[in-house]
């Protein structure tokens, strides 16, 4: 692959200034948005619940008692100011802590019975230049003039999107509409204020609760303390995150390349790292998303009900 020094695309700078306020607004409206999503009658939607409400029983899941609330209370008590936001969704908990409280959070979780280390990785919320993010590429749109129409039809046939308006997502930020290329910096569960986030998932075998921890990192020098003394399994995950995102893990015993060759430059999973093959030639598979000629009106695939 390439040894490109990662060139900053103009998109990153342009949105830098405006995105901050919008992100703050998106974070504040977390709760009502999650509540709004529950007007869907489907069973899946019924499993959504808002942050502080008592979790209702999940349909045919493991019994969800107050276990999550107990965990949340304990985390709030132990972490204090390091805890930023929490969110519960399905049978999991999302907790955002400060970068300074990252290691402390792991120790607290370990003492709360989260004995299983699932994974640790990074997120880069920079608006990506990828064609997959918003609309289809201009080339495809040019070649196929009724593209937008087909998308509309498809969405009309799709109950969830039609019913729930733009706020069907947990984030509640605008821009889930097909024309939503507004440059809004959308973040996920428990929100986020910076470009980079480190996140990790733990699980309690006894309680059957999953916990995703997130922490906002500094844009210029992303760094947190290592978890490898708390969860030895974090060792490799941190090495991977270090080489893929360029996050520094302070105190890591052996922070060297895991996958990439030693002389590799750049951080491949950052959004501003170009995927060279796709820079040279657009992804040919995009033709797949063009509508098929002739059969515009029936948007559903054929339904087979053959007895096997």
């Amino acid at each position: 692959m390439s040894r490109l020094s990662s060139a900053e695309p103009p998109a990153g700078d342009a949105t830098e200034g405006t995105a901050d306020d919008e992100r703050a607004a998106a974070g504040a409206t977390d709760e009502p948005a999650a509540a709004a999503a529950t007007d869907e009658p489907a069973a899946v939607a019924a499993t959504d619940d808002t942050g502080d409400a008592t979790p209702g029983p999940l349909p045919d899941g493991p019994p969800v008692d107050d276990g999550r609330l107990v965990v949340l209370d304990a985390l709030t008590a132990e972490l204090g100011a390091h805890l930023v936001t929490t969110e519960t969704h399905r049978d999991d908990i999302w907790v955002r802590v400060t970068a300074k409280g990252w290691k402390r959070a792991a120790e607290v979780c370990r003492s709360l019975g989260f004995d299983y280390f699932c994974f640790l990785s990074g997120l880069d919320w920079m608006p990506s230049v990828s064609v997959m993010r918003g609309e289809v590429t201009s080339e495809v749109a040019e070649g196929e003039t009724d593209e937008a129409e087909a998308v509309e039809q498809a969405e009309a046939a799709y109950p969830a999107a039609a019913g729930a308006e733009p706020d069907s997502a947990e984030t509640g930020s605008a821009g889930t509409q097909p024309d939503g290329e507004t440059g809004t910096w959308k973040t996920g569960h428990a929100g986020g204020d910076t470009r980079f986030q480190v996140f990790a998932r733990l699980y309690s075998i006894e309680r059957h609760i999953g916990l995703t921890l997130k922490a906002d990192l500094d844009d210029d020098a992303p760094a947190v303390e290592t978890w490898s003394q708390v969860y030895p399994g974090a060792d490799w995950h941190e090495r991977e995150t270090w080489e893929m995102f360029g996050f520094d893990f302070i105190g890591h015993p052996h922070l060297v390349h895991l996958y990439l060759p030693g002389e590799f430059e750049g951080f491949p999973l950052r959004k501003d790292f170009p995927l060279l093959a796709r820079e040279v030639k657009p992804w040919p598979g995009l033709v797949d998303v063009e509508p098929m000629p002739g059969t515009e009106e029936d948007a559903t695939p054929e339904q087979v009900s053959e007895q096997g």
Binding site: P62, C118, A154, T212, P232, Y259, P301, V304, G308
Partner: protein
């Protein structure tokens, strides 16, 4: 008893003392043993650099990345339906099982659910993947310990399962069969009875293997007590699947997580073993294969009629949000953390593959073991390289 003369006794003691002195005086030089990247026990290209003191490993380092294909980056330039083609190749011995959690994550975001028949067929295919995968393990672990026969049995009988997968999906190794909201095709005619037959064969195979290896003196000597993983250590490394159940942890995501797949409707058992050694890992997998064949039989009997595809738009756009979906794959917990921003493809897809965590314990586990045990431990952990270097 008293036949040993005083002289003989003294000679014996002197001999022992001399041996002890030699052991102290002869500081043997440390040696570096390079294992791999190409080695049958590594199922791909994994390199292990072991520092040896005599026959004992002091320190082992695992070098991976020879097969890293950057799937997490590549998913960012694929549409949601196209991603299944990539992730098929993560754990290539049970490809269909890789597709399922990703599709579940996408369905979770889109709030669609596949119809019951599709969920049944998904679960059947999932279990068939498990059988195809673990069948090979059961045979291969034998061959790595010097028993040649099991591996021939394994390749012979795995073929029955692969044929079934091919008949239904069109792909022997890479089915690419799962779709958002359902499946690509329904089952072909006659498939159900064929599958019942094949499950019988697999059960016979398991019995044969049990006859061949369990109770075999060499096999037991080389696996019992070798590579013991205590439950708490295993969990803190993120070990999952049969590897952690062999350490006595009664945890199986098929039973313990909310999943639209139909494991909850079935009558089955989670197998655990208290020992945590290589033998326990082998034993648990053998039992799980048998259990899986019973599950497939039950599902075939209870297969509901109906559509296999829910209503989804032809151009799939996934609403913005984050979803985490995980399943109990043959090698352990496989999960996808999918971030969508309302586009055609994922903005970020973190792939949590089981073998990655299962292998990360190797440096810890190899400390102090003897060289021949390296192979036993590696093969009993059972990792697929594509699952580490995804």
């Amino acid at each position: 008893m008293t036949a040993v003369s005083e002289q003989q006794r003294m000679a014996y003691i002197a001999g022992q003392a001399a041996d002890a002195r030699v052991n102290v005086e002869l500081q043997t030089e440390e040696m570096t043993l390079n294992l791999g990247p190409q080695h049958p026990a590594t199922h791909g290209t994994l390199r292990i650099i072991a520092r040896l003191d005599g026959e004992q490993v002091i320190n082992a380092e695992v070098v991976c990345g020879y097969m890293h294909r950057g799937y997490e980056k590549l998913t960012e330039v694929r549409t949601f339906p196209q991603v299944t083609t990539l992730i098929n190749r993560i754990d290539w011995l049970s490809s269909f099982a890789n597709e399922v959690p990703f599709i579940l994550a996408a369905e979770q975001l889109m709030e669609v659910e596949a119809p019951p028949r599709a969920q049944y067929i998904r679960t059947i295919m999932f279990e068939l993947s498990r059988i195809a995968n673990i069948t090979l393990f059961i045979g291969e672990m034998g061959v790595q310990l010097g028993a040649i026969t099991p591996v021939f049995f394994a390749f012979r009988d795995r073929e029955y399962v692969l044929n079934l997968i091919e008949a239904a999906t069109g792909g022997r190794f890479h089915p690419n069969y799962d779709r958002i909201g359902g499946l690509k095709d329904d089952l072909p005619r006659g498939w159900v009875s064929e599958t019942h037959e094949a499950m019988k064969r697999i059960r016979t195979y398991c019995d044969q293997l049990e006859d061949l290896l369990m109770g075999n003196e060499i096999f037991e000597a080389r696996t019992r007590g070798v590579g013991v993983i205590p439950a708490d250590v295993g969990l803190s490394y993120g070990l999952s699947g049969a590897n952690i159940r062999a350490s006595g942890v009664d945890w199986d995501l098929r039973r313990d997580s909310t999943s639209p797949l139909v494991w909850k409707d079935l009558d089955w058992k989670v197998w655990t073993h208290p020992d945590g050694d290589s033998f326990a890992r082998y034993w648990v997998r053998l039992q799980e294969t048998r259990e899986a064949t019973r599950m497939v039989d039950q599902m075939l009997d209870g297969l509901p009629a109906g559509p296999i595809q829910a209503k989804v738009p032809r151009i799939i756009k996934v609403p913005a949000g984050e979803a985490w979906a995980h399943t109990e794959n043959p090698s352990g917990e496989m999960g996808y953390y999918v971030v969508s921003q309302g586009g055609l493809g994922p903005v970020r897809c973190k792939i949590r593959s089981a073998s990655f965590n299962n292998t990360s314990i190797v440096p810890w586990l190899l400390k102090g073991v003897y060289v021949p045990d390296i192979i036993t431990i590696l093969s009993s952990l059972y990792f697929i390289l594509g699952d580490i270097d995804r």
